[in-house]
């Protein structure tokens, strides 16, 4: 019985990841990460996702702070966006990365209004990504729990 449940969950995981690729939320870099996970590093993807989310939230909080000042420090803002863009790229968070590119452009043009708009977009994309990642990790944990039960 467990075998069927595990297979079903694995399919669910695979389909959900595929939907994220189809929506452009994730790109091929995420597949690269999955390929790096193996029996000697069974939690690799989970760990990277966790690191990414913690980092992204920290950066987004900082960016929000900078944007709330009357005079925006565009260069500090830019350095934060650069970081988030880098992490997004490394994890395969495609749409989030594009949102970062937009914020970098707005920041370069020193256009506060556009920066705020671009930032809102980043926040939106991140929230979407996080909830999808959470869903994925829940499935993963159920798979692991069932697999452990078998042993």
């Amino acid at each position: 019985m467990n075998q069927m449940a595990i297979a079903a969950l694995k399919n669910q995981y695979k389909s959900f990841v595929q939907s994220m690729f189809d929506e452009g939320v994730l790109d091929n870099q995420f597949s690269q990460l999955q390929d790096l996970q193996d029996s000697s590093n069974p939690n690799f993807v989970d760990e990277v996702i966790t690191l990414f989310c913690n980092d992204a939230e920290r950066i987004i909080t900082e960016m929000n702070r900078y944007l709330n000042y009357q005079n925006v420090d565009f260069s500090k803002l830019d350095s934060h966006v650069h970081q988030l863009k880098g992490s997004s790229s490394s994890i395969g968070a495609h749409r989030l990365k594009l949102a970062c590119v937009n914020l970098r452009q707005a920041s370069y043009e020193r256009n506060k209004e556009e920066c705020v708009e671009a930032f809102n977009s980043i926040r939106h994309e991140y929230c979407l990504l996080r909830s999808k990642f959470q869903f994925l990790m829940q499935i993963e944990r159920r798979i692991v729990a069932l697999e452990n039960n078998q042993q």
Binding site: Q32, L36, V48, Q83, G86, S87, S89, I91, V101
Partner: protein, 182 residues
């Protein structure tokens, strides 16, 4: 058992991004390299035992060469880091009498030809665009082997330095198709 760790290549990875450090570490370990990952150029120099003071370097390098564990076969570093950039680190390594022969590879999220050229001209063996892939890591082997075999392989490496040879063709095509104005 002990023999295996001694013959394993040791790569020093330098990147201020936690995620990228985790990634490069996994990529390198998957390729059977021993890895030390640090978050800054200063920490990298500290790890090597290289200080700005030439006297210290001589003292430290004689200690380092006796101690197998500090031996580094390749350094792979991010370009954009606060404080000391990857380029600054490259220069310091190449200016050091003890460490100038350690191959250095630069990684960057930005595809800037003048930056790439400058790094290659100043002694970097390779320049990888991020996110780094397993196929990039497989290019490290010849540079690591160079340290073991003789100087005759150096002439093969020199032909890489032209701009048109920086990336393998398929990678260049992929990059140009997603050029973004940042």
């Amino acid at each position: 058992m002990g023999m295996a760790t001694q013959t394993q290549f040791h790569v020093l990875a330098v990147d201020d991004s936690l995620i990228d450090r985790k990634l490069i570490e996994r990529l390198l370990k998957t390729s059977s390299y021993q890895v030390t990952a640090v978050d800054s150029g200063n920490k990298a120099l500290e790890f090597l035992g290289l200080n700005d003071n030439e006297e210290d370097e001589e003292r430290n390098s004689s200690v380092a060469s006796d101690d197998q564990q500090v031996r580094v076969n390749l350094i792979i570093t991010d370009y954009c880091m606060p404080g000391m950039t990857g380029y600054d680190l490259l220069r310091k390594i190449k200016q050091s009498s003890s460490f100038k022969d350690i191959p250095v590879v630069i990684m960057s999220s930005e595809n800037i030809p003048s930056r790439i050229n400058r790094c290659l001209e100043d002694g970097a063996e390779e320049f990888f665009l991020k996110p780094v892939q397993l196929s990039d890591v497989s290019k490290l082997k010849p540079h690591l082997m160079k340290g073991i075999t003789s100087k005759e392989t150096k002439s093969n490496i020199n032909k890489r330095k032209g701009m048109e040879e920086i990336h393998s063709p398929d990678r260049t095509r992929a990059r140009y198709s997603e050029l973004e104005v940042v």
